[in-house]
């Protein structure tokens, strides 16, 4: 029994050291929004209530185990009922729970108030990346993991933000209420940034809402929280929160770049140019399933390198990219990639890894296909 005591004492000391460890990534982050602070306070309050109840309950238990051992000559009493204490220990916990429910209800109501947003961002989950669309601003992009495979395999040392780094972070202004509209193109994902205390499932066929008003500029990282398939662990979220003026400038810059891109549809592209762009699109969008060398992961994700149907049938190949394959994991990229990107990635997959068809698919062709 002595060992049991030592062990319990160890546990309690461990618990007591929790507050000191808060800053060291052992606890829920306080976060950078009013709501995340409120939720953190709620979490700590309930934690300490549990600790106090635990100390009392386990205290009585271990006192009994120590005091009423037969080896110390304890003789058993024979009582087995007492209505007063039984009513008491039903009623008191009930009151404590009501005490917990009141602030929880208040916080929840605030979390559900998505009214009066100054910016709407559509968040779309896809196997295995995020897509962000700034509604009404003509800005949209995909955001994929950039950690190199070599780091994951252990061939290279792991970087500081291993698995928590992306090519295009979501950029948001501070001090403005931003409403998120969340959905998915395939399976259920869940968009979670702990510093905002925002976690919301993105569900195909549903549009969920959540919101954030960030208090401090900075870079905040999170991950997909709902198992969404093979690369669930590899679709991080990075949010870059900027001062308001900086954000407005960024938004204008993005709009101009989008216009530039739209103009690219009308001109003739050289094969090299398409290949260069296509390689980048492939790495960001396709490689998670079809793999870096196009070898795929059959049967769910067919290989592309040396895929005879792909090589023989360019029209079918483009169809699959534009409209997806119904009943499979292959999504339609009609609305998530622009004509230049679709043309480039089609060209890349028709020529990479020894496919060598020599075809250069032009953005204009794709644009025409998209109107059908």
């Amino acid at each position: 029994m002595r060992t049991l005591f030592v062990w319990m004492a160890g546990c309690l000391t461990g618990l007591a050291s929790v507050p000191a460890a808060v800053a060291n990534g052992w606890n829920m982050p306080v976060g950078v929004t009013d709501l995340s602070r409120e939720i953190h306070t709620l979490h700590m309050t309930i934690f300490w209530i549990c600790v106090i109840i635990g100390v009392i309950v386990f205290g009585v238990m271990f006192y009994s185990l120590f005091k009423f051992r037969r080896s110390r000559g304890a003789k058993a009493a024979n009582f087995h009922e007492n209505t007063t204490v039984e009513v008491l220990w039903t009623a008191v916990p009930l009151l404590i729970l009501v005490g917990m429910a009141v602030p929880a209800t208040a916080t929840l109501k605030k979390m559900y108030d998505t009214s009066d947003a100054e910016l709407d961002v559509m968040i779309i989950g896809q196997q295995f990346r995020w897509r962000y669309e700034y509604l009404g601003e003509d800005v949209a992009f995909n955001s994929s993991l950039t950690t190199p495979t070599a780091q994951i395999r252990g061939d290279e040392p792991k970087g500081e933000h291993y698995l928590l780094e992306v090519d295009n972070p979501l950029v948001l202004p501070i001090n403005r209420k931003v409403r998120f509209l969340m959905t998915s193109d395939d399976v259920i994902h869940s968009w979670w940034v702990p510093d905002f205390a925002v976690k919301q499932d993105t569900i195909p066929g549903f549009i969920n809402e959540n919101w954030v008003r960030i208090n401090e500029p900075g870079i905040y990282r999170g991950q997909c929280a709902e198992l969404c398939g093979m690369n669930h662990g590899f679709m991080p979220i990075v949010v870059h929160a900027m001062e308001e003026e900086e954000f407005d400038a960024w938004l204008v810059e993005q709009q101009e770049a989008a216009e530039q891109e739209a103009m690219g549809v009308d001109r003739e592209w050289a094969l090299d140019e398409l290949m260069e762009r296509g390689e980048a699109v492939y790495a960001s969008v396709c490689a998670t399933c079809h793999q870096a060398e196009g070898q795929g992961n059959p049967p769910a994700f067919p290989g592309l390198a040396g895929n005879q149907r792909l090589i023989d049938d360019p029209a079918w190949h483009l169809d699959v990219i534009v409209d997806g394959v119904s009943g499979s994991a292959m999504p339609a990229f009609r609305s998530t990639l622009n004509p230049v990107e679709i043309a480039a990635v089609t060209t890349w997959t028709r020529n990479a890894w020894g496919n060598d068809t020599g075809d250069a698919v032009q953005p204009a062709e794709v644009a025409e296909q998209l109107t059908r």
Binding site: P29, H80, P93, Y162, L163, V187, W192, A197, N297
Partner: protein
């Protein structure tokens, strides 16, 4: 591990309870494997359930160790993400449906007839059938790992559309396997209800039954209520996958969230199916080794019933972040918090039973006491998870993994082990080796806490569950968890050694193997002969010190 079997000639029955038995009219059992295939004896079927569950516990445990080995350090070292997902999924499915549930059914088969003074289960042939469905179901499930595209890889909760449109081809076999396991559970539950309602010894009222019978009776009703819901939802999946329906396919007008409502309407009562019988076991062991009647017998029964009823009204607390309306969030938050009240009553009753007792620490008691402490820790994190706004941070993180493993491993599994140590003398006629059992206990307690306590921190710090690789700040927690998991896994080999040694020999146990034990099973010889209570015992209440207090 098989019970000590009586010789084939009639057995000398030694107590008044079993005197006048008609063993001579029984035929000798068929030889070899047929004996086990055809047995209708509740003790033999109980042993089959327990052996099956122990094997599955090790298979599910090996899957867990594959997961923990991959998570030992950041980076992908041993398996690819696809296989990792199959391992997490199979670990969950096997532990829930093939290890914990059959273990409780095995204990019920062995002990309920003995505790209520019945000669056997009410429906012995059905009993045989419901056991033999299980090996079929789980061989089928395990075989999916070898099929093209691999086994189930969508988590034990198999959310659509990941488990339908995007699932591997073997999913149809997974569905069939769950159907078979579900039928087995329903038949087992019917049998237990029929036995308890109809076959109690003359004079034993419902409120005289040991709590293990009560908690199992309530569990059996839960099973009958929710296993058909599971059958319904997997049938809808089957239709979506093979027959072109769109129950859960948004593109066809279906509803992925409907899947979650149906699944958790089954799933939450299922959680209590795995813990209520544990409450019954602990409620038998603590009074025995405190040598004092259970405090608040009636309130224990009412609390069990209250938990069972509430379990039908809390399912959406698993869905706080799917975008439920505010009113639904509040409703499910409040109902979930209410669960803490009857659960608290149980813990208070156990502790008050200890108070002013005369306590000794035999192996079953060690496990029962660890159950009370560690299950309560799981209960505390449960209260935290019930707080819907905070759950937006906890949901789908390792904090949840820590929570449900605390209630299932040092909760349900420790209670099963406590029950095994408690009743082994009755099954085998020998006491388990105390030194080895103590080693098993301490290694398990340390291992289980090393494994699961750091998961609280990893989850709070932001680590999502079901990921095969993780960011560097989670490395220390995962390292400790993995070491603990291997320690816990290895210490279960000690358990197997104890059980085998106990079957083969050891200190002889008398009919009443534990000084403070009071229930009817302790009135038959140890080991319990194949046939007991062929004439019902006379159950007297109140008037004998060695009978359970009402």
């Amino acid at each position: 591990m098989a019970p000590k079997l009586p010789p084939h000639h009639p057995v000398e029955q030694s107590t008044s309870a079993t005197a006048g038995g008609q063993a001579s009219v029984h035929h000798a059992p068929p030889p070899g494997i047929l004996r086990w295939l055809l047995t209708t004896n509740h003790k033999e079927i109980g042993s089959l359930y327990l052996i099956f569950s122990l094997i599955m516990f090790f298979i599910g445990g090996i899957f867990a160790l594959v997961v923990r080995a991959e998570l030992f350090q950041p980076g992908m070292q041993l398996v690819n993400p696809e296989f990792f997902n199959q391992m997490t999924t199979m670990h969950g499915l096997i532990m829930v449906f093939a290890a914990v549930m059959p273990a409780f059914t095995g204990l019920a088969n062995w002990m309920i007839p003995l505790q209520i003074g019945a000669p056997d289960m009410a429906l012995p042939r059905l009993n045989n059938f419901s056991f033999w469905l299980l090996p079929v179901a789980f061989l089928l499930l395990l075989s999916t790992l070898l099929m093209p595209g691999g086994g189930p890889n969508f988590g034990w909760t198999f959310y659509a559309p990941l488990s339908t449109t995007y699932a591997p081809p073997s999913t149809t076999f997974f569905i069939l396997s769950l159907h078979i396991a579900g039928i087995s559970s329903i038949l087992g539950a019917i049998n237990i209800i029929a036995t308890i309602i109809n076959m109690r010894a003359p004079g034993m009222r419902m409120m005289d039954m040991p709590l293990f019978c009560w908690t199992w009776l309530i569990t059996a009703f839960l099973l009958i209520a929710v296993m058909p819901v599971l059958a319904g939802v997997i049938t809808m999946m089957l239709m979506d996958i093979n027959f072109g329906t769109h129950f859960f396919n948004a593109a066809g007008g279906g509803d992925p969230v409907l899947f979650q409502h149906l699944f958790w309407f089954f799933g939450h009562p299922e959680v209590y199916i795995m813990i209520l019988p544990a409450f019954g076991i602990v409620s038998a062991i603590i009074p025995t080794f405190a040598r004092k009647p259970l405090f608040g017998y009636a309130s224990m029964v009412y609390a069990t019933a209250a938990i069972a009823i509430l379990s039908f009204f809390v399912w959406a607390h698993h869905m706080f972040v799917v975008g439920l309306p505010l009113a639904a969030e509040l409703f499910f938050m409040y109902t979930t918090m209410l669960i803490a009240v009857p659960t608290g009553v149980k813990v208070f009753n156990w502790i008050t039973t200890l108070f002013r007792g005369s306590i000794t620490f035999e192996p079953p008691m060690l496990f029962a006491l660890a159950f009370v402490v560690l299950f309560t820790i799981g209960g505390f994190s449960g209260v935290m998870l019930a707080i819907a706004p905070a759950d937006f941070q906890y949901h789908d993180t390792y904090f949840v993994v820590a929570h449900f493993h605390y209630v299932l491993v040092p909760g349900a599994v420790f209670a099963i082990m406590a029950g095994v140590y408690y009743w082994l003398p009755k099954w085998t006629g020998h006491y388990p080796n105390v030194k080895l059992a103590q080693w098993h206990f301490w290694l398990s307690v340390v291992g289980v806490n090393l494994t699961f306590f750091p998961m609280h921190f990893a989850g709070l710090a932001g680590m999502p569950r079901r990921i095969p690789d993780y960011a560097l700040q989670f490395a220390d927690f995962n390292l400790v968890s993995s070491l603990g998991a291997f320690m816990f896994g290895a210490s279960q080999l000690v358990f197997v050694a104890v059980v085998i040694l106990c079957v083969r020999g050891g200190e002889r146990a008398p009919a009443k193997a534990w000084e403070g034990a009071t229930d009817l099973e302790w009135s038959v010889p140890s080991p319990a002969p194949l046939h007991t209570f062929e004439t019902p015992p006379t159950f007297r209440r109140h008037d004998a010190a060695d009978l359970p207090a009402p």
